[in-house]
Symmetry: C2
């Protein structure tokens, strides 16, 4: 998974047109103020084991920036090695589920052409990129013979 | 070179703070309307031979979109395999030189923390990403024995 994290004055979007892989949704527009925008590309090899390290990274940055508002925004252009669309949507939904107990979360729909307006704050921590690798839930114990 | 091309209602930026690799410049803020924003990461292995194919790609998209306004915006987060800063600045300046005979060009400074505001139009051609490879100026001719 690739993530580009932007500390923004605001992010707003409007879904304009479906692509062939558009998810069904009623949330076709949205806006959030003073937020951490997480542009996300789910990559080949990603599975539910990427959720925990992704959340840890988002938590860490959100805490540093003292933000309570999170935008999850699918962004295929961050990777040239994307997962299939079903996996991507599932992972984005799982991220949303995990985050929304602790943050206000706005998730932009996957697979739509969208207009967006973004204002990046511009301080040193306001643009960060991360590569997140899936991590097995249980540590494998070394078997001694 | 990686490029993310965004057809925008506007892009504006303001350089806020230098990083260690900041270029010297007097252009610390700027705004352009109805523009093609070229977010660019110059990568290891890029040299002046990347200019021509990059310009061809920008020309092609600018023609399709019928835009006369081009923003060149350095964006390291598009790649995990960046060039050295000197090469990056040189290539960005060469791109600017080549483009400005035919377009209005705004180039955001390299190596500064910048705030920015962006409005992406959201039609199907309004977000495109490209990987550009350096191309030798002269075609190698096959030597027949
Ligand atoms: Mg504000």
């Amino acid at each position: 998974m690739k993530m580009l994290l932007i500390h923004a004055d605001y992010l707003e979007f409007e879904a304009k047109e479906k692509t062939k892989i558009a998810e069904e949704t009623d949330i076709l527009k949205g806006r959030m103020e003073d937020c951490l925008v997480c542009f996300i590309a789910v990559e080949r090899g990603d599975n539910k084991n990427v959720i925990k390290p992704a959340i840890e990274e988002i938590d860490k940055v959100a805490k540093q920036l003292k933000v309570n508002n999170i935008v999850l925004y699918p962004y295929a252009h961050l990777s040239s090695d994307l997962s299939d669309p079903e996996t991507a949507v599932n992972i984005l939904k799982l991220l949303e589920e995990e985050l929304k107990s602790r943050y206000n979360v706005l998730r932009a729909p996957f697979g739509w052409y969208k207009s967006f307006k973004l204002s990046c704050k511009g301080h040193p921590l306001s643009e960060l990129s991360r590569k997140i690798e899936p991590k097995e839930e249980e540590e494998k114990k070394e078997v001694k013979s």
